[in-house]
Symmetry: D4
Subunit: 248 residues, 8 copies
């Protein structure tokens, strides 16, 4: 809401087209409109098909179902992350269009088909065990309207696998690197591409990875430039961030 809206309102007041009380009420609401993010958020959502997102961890099946039910009354896409199969079944009952990615543990409901971007996000991962995070990231990126290329199982233990796929990685506008254990893949890719790299440590590995802490520290300390890091196993966060960059 900008100055023009305010002036229009004031003119309406002056011209007796609107009750002072009504106008006062509307102005009292201004702070939130004026801060604007709600409005913008809503606009962007309608315009771009931005989804509503539900983080299911720590919520009950009932709560998730109710939130989806409410969201369905609005005309936006829906993404639920960390969703159990049980949650999906509950959602499916009220929305037949719901899809479940079992590995990625995401529920997606598409009400507005989005034309994917021409530029793409490369999602690169080190090993088979990282696939759940890859899937969460991919589902997120796609429902946000991005073209996605997945390059999986190219860990540095066999670096030739990585070089064979290097061209597609370097062609991306932004790269997500997902790796557990020591997370060295992020540094290696960071040294090979000149695009922003978003690194996602995963909780995969033997004892002293401490639930992904080893990979997290490794990625934060990367000697390669252009790497930033999100939380452990946070495929959603990486994809959200990558989507912002890809759609700049």
């Amino acid at each position: 809401m900008d100055k023009i809206d305010i002036i229009k309102l004031l003119e309406a007041v002056k011209n007796n087209e609107i009750e002072i009380d009504t106008a006062a009420k509307e102005i009292e609401d201004l702070p939130f409109k004026d801060l604007g993010f709600a409005v913008i958020d809503n606009h962007r959502q309608i315009r771009t098909g931005y989804p509503e997102v539900i983080y299911c961890e720590g919520k009950t099946v009932e709560q998730v179902k109710n939130i989806v039910e409410f969201m369905l009354t609005k005309d936006s896409n829906i993404l639920a992350t960390r969703a159990s199969e049980e949650m999906f079944k509950a959602v499916k009952e009220i929305c037949d269009d719901a899809n479940y990615n079992k590995l990625g543990r995401t529920i997606t409901i598409r009400k507005n088909a989005l034309e994917p971007t021409e530029s793409y996000i490369a999602i690169v991962s080190a090993g088979t065990s990282d696939l759940p995070v890859v899937e969460e990231a991919a589902e997120t990126a796609m429902i946000l309207g991005n073209r996605v290329e997945k390059i999986v199982d190219v860990g540095v233990a066999g670096i030739h696998r990585l070089f064979a796929r290097l061209e597609v990685i370097r062609g991306a506008k932004v790269v997500i690197v997902i790796a557990g254990m020591e997370g060295a893949l992020a540094s290696v890719i960071g040294g090979l591409v000149d695009k922003p790299v978003i690194a996602v440590p995963t909780s995969i590995g033997y004892g002293a990875n401490f639930g992904g802490f080893a990979a997290l520290l490794s990625m934060l300390n990367s000697c390669a430039n252009g790497i930033s890091v999100v939380n452990i196993d946070n495929g959603f966060g990486a994809a959200y961030n990558a989507s912002m960059i890809n759609q700049l």
Copy 2:
């Protein structure tokens, strides 16, 4: 080096325009050229004025001086981070154009004036004590050719200061948020802008910030979307990353 170059080389062999031995040598070199990054890196540097970067921590004054001396023979800009005043004095002896940012502890030498980008990087910080990291980030961003807007001392303890500067923050193409203590500023800004946010935890604070670990964890766990994180006090890394995004 692409396929066309190879075919040209083979035709030259076929036409006896080149010795088989010479051609063999050239092809043997292919892997590195073909991987290409060295070449590309060099090209990009010449084309864009990308600086050579020296990380001075753990190096002697002598080593820093020697590296700069060698770089001066090449025609690129130079950025030295974590440089002591003593290092600057040694560099100044061999290059009168060297500048020192005392707070940011950077040495910069500009051989190629760069036209700054139209879009800008917003560098936002919480408190006065975070200024050294702000300066390192700003110097880095500028020598990489970016327009920079600094918005300092807008920590969440007095959130109205932040709102007063919100417009300039939201106008940026990418935002760097620098904060110590609990680093909450990153989350608050992440919730207010729809641009990528790169968060830099700083080592500023009372006892239990554990050298910036508190702010680091805080930023990694941000409930706001679109935030990625770099290492503690790593203003350089944030700016390098932001520059990549700003110049996409």
Copy 3:
């Protein structure tokens, strides 16, 4: 027990109104009475309806039931925290008035209806997943005789939700802020109200929150003034503390 009581006792001895042996016994008991806390505790409990509290974690169903059984012989209210449904069933068998808050995992038994305080404790939380801690805090605060206002789901990722409820938060005599992930809500509220804020980190979040450690450190390092912190997920402790302040 003050000097006057002692002098009265000695006069009774002198006047043969009391046996020396009896008096000796009474004096031998003095240290504990003189320290006084037991007495005071008891008095306060009777006077104010202060509950007996049972921390059920690590206790067997049998033990909890037995402790409640014993307490029922006294005339005080009872609060059991971290109670499983199985424990509640066992308690229900011996006390039909027992209530169970499933989310908050509390059992409450009210023998003395308390007039709630006029001033109130605001319990503010960031997300739906924090509700169990909210409920534990609310049940505790209410059985301690406080008026409570709950303001939930106002995390900083959408800061306008917080501003919409700011008035009710600022009206409280003391504020409890419950947040997981990066816990930034505590700092933001700390900067907006001028009442004591008690922050409760919760164990909600992705990998690197380390069971609430991230939020804990964040809150301890808050740049806002007037914030103190209790243990992770300790809704009870926060409410007990808030009740003390609210009833000063």
Copy 4:
């Protein structure tokens, strides 16, 4: 700014008493006024003599001096914490009324004499080595207008020393407990008083206290009720919090 102000403004518009443009400008400013904290903060400061606070850690002598210089133009008291002697000397040059507490490392400038509160804050500490934190807390509490009672060197290793001072501790409206090593003093006092206890862990101790982390964890895990905790060595934070409670 409440609804009445808005209605008045609108009536002025309707009655042509004010230009639409001017009114629009005024309404556009509403968010900050409406949030109100700046105004309130200022009012409170003038009314109660609340000091401006400077946290000197990580600031240069020059910066501290400049901030003080600016503050002196306003009519409020000033408190600088973590200030070095060198900083004090610089401040002394521009303000002869400045006082320095060498142990507590605080600079205080009193422009408005405050009548201390009748109720008092008890500041209790375990050992001689905790005195710097005691002094920081005391200076803070006093310049915030509170009566303070210090009870030092009453660590639990010789618990009789504590009992000898128990009466004065129990007479306080709020108690600050400052202890390093294992920080057990907080729990013991928490079990003996029925007033809110704010615990401050200090970084004093042998190897495995890890810079105060041992005491911090100890206090957070206290089995006594009514204890909340601030950051390691944060005497200022504890006193600020205690002052809020003492002046409720």
Copy 5:
């Protein structure tokens, strides 16, 4: 085995009372006998009824049963710690005299009744939830031949409970203090008795006790003298140590 034994053996060789081969074999065994601990251990065990100890954690039911079966062929008492009920049932099948302490998770088999020591070990604990460790310690101390006095539920949150039992604690030759949460009980008792105190941190408590780490650090940093610490929840280790001291 001392020099005299060797000389006797050599004289037997010289006098042809023993075969050279036999003697060579016996001497070849010397290193172990000479180190002596095996012999001494065996002797002590027979003389004092010292038990064989089995640490069941990480062993299968089958393995535990087999070890006990083998031990039963020797004439010593048996103690199994961290034993599940399933393990006990398996042992019971082959030894009807086996006893199970469900809370302490110990299996004990007494073949040699021991006259308990006159002096006693005091086992003091803070709360009901610490009882499993108390029981493990008590069973261990008793089968090692010690008189034991248990003083439970005397945590510092209600320090008067502790003072009421102080006499029996101070009468012990050595004191074991078992406490979770912040473990302050160890410091308080350490300040009240002049006997060696062995502190056992337990893993009981809210979030930030980190599985007993808080209590462990607290006890290691105790400001009281005369306290040493064993591993978290290690009731067995504390009792073994206490038994050594009690039987000096």
Copy 6:
């Protein structure tokens, strides 16, 4: 691929024995062939019977089965670590020769019988509870073609057991030491042998071993020379490393 191959190719071009396009394609592939490791890896595998290795943690039963199925088409041995019994059953269905080590959780399939080395790897462990790691290491070492000697249950608490087996340990070409709790066995053996020692910390122990972290730190800090360390519980990694050394 060496220079000779390139020259041959060029000669074929010159002699029109090969199309320029085909040659160009082949040269374009050079980087990977030239890096050579894939080729070498394959050769070594066929030549030495090196197994394909599958790390099953975090994979589904289906995934493991599919990977094995694919590998069976190649003529190499197969080793699967961290395999559940369910996984083994699935593998058994498609390969009757598969063997399962229940304790070590390994599946092995031998297609090429290997003559074990003459020199051997000694695998030494401290306690019964370390056996799973011992078995994983032994299975790995054996399928890699090594002779193995196991020396178990020789922890330092009864150091005479270790001395009785010292000769066989000192006869090895390389020693693997597997120990939990404080991991002191590695240091003691490191001081007694003059062969490389690979230490494996295990996650066995009471509370403060923090999932093997205590043993890990202990081994990394060993005062004995010649010790290097692998990840917690990583029997596979130790054996792989030992095999490399044993077969030098």
Copy 7:
């Protein structure tokens, strides 16, 4: 003070031998006398020559000097730990009998010559770098009246050195083991003696000992029985504890 004293007092009141006011005063003081530790402490000190102890860390030279000055007015021995040479010089000025152990950083003043105990404390250490802690422990043990035997530089890297000194270690009544790095010496000695072992981790070692944390964890997790642990580098605490045991 026991019941008999109280009865005597009451009889004196009854017989008018004492004023009621005086008696009331005396009874009012009872709590502290009745707790008794102060009295006992004083008595023990006079009787046994127990020293007053000053922990100098975090104290100023001035404070240390003043405390010693006050103590000199009493007739007890004095021990100051963690004392700098500067502190010693200040103390020397007011007490010519003061001695300084430079390595152990202790100041000792002996007013009452103590006959050392017949039984002795063995102080065993791993390396030369641990000597400062050895000296602190030895000075403490001696001024507490114990006979001490030092066995230094017998780390497990060369275990034969240890065996050569085993007899003197086994002859002790209690053993202190001081070791840095991985602290394995404690476990080895624990397995070889049947006396209580008090382990002191030291902060000596390469990077990942984390200021003694590695040795601390190692000792807490010792697989040998009979070991308890004190804080890192806390030679004083170990000796105090050992003295208690040695003088039982």
Copy 8:
């Protein structure tokens, strides 16, 4: 000493060729001789020129000088690590042949020239700041008689530098990889060579490397096979280990 020696001794006793007392003395000495390591150690040292090693950290200049002085009376080479320049000066006074490596902080004294091995140890490092550890490793490896090849400044940020040097790395018998920050170099090299890799994390890097902990964890969690790890900055330990392998 084997059985044959014992039988010979007994026969000598039987034949009166030796006094019983003398024989008894000889047998009494058996344990240590039989354990044998002292003898073997001495022999190896004389035969191979193995150096005596002094770890100077935590030792005084005086102590280092004295130890060297004593060692000079024996005929072996000497290596002192972590030696300050001041220590070197003191050593130089008593031994003119002493050499100092300023970067590596080692003192070496060569009394027995060793023919270096034909096979070599490759010492690979990531950056200039890792050079001190490289030098310590190289000095150690060389005085232990090994041929050494250094390949420095080949960190993964510019992976082409590494490929250019790959041949010399792959030609080694054993590889030492030294890297700070995220230590990814170890994984990359581990995936490219089929020789044992010993990884040394260094303490170089920005904030969240926590003194080398990040690189340490990274290396322990390496997804590449054949990597084992030594302590942070422990160039000596890596080289000692590598020497053992190189000389197998």
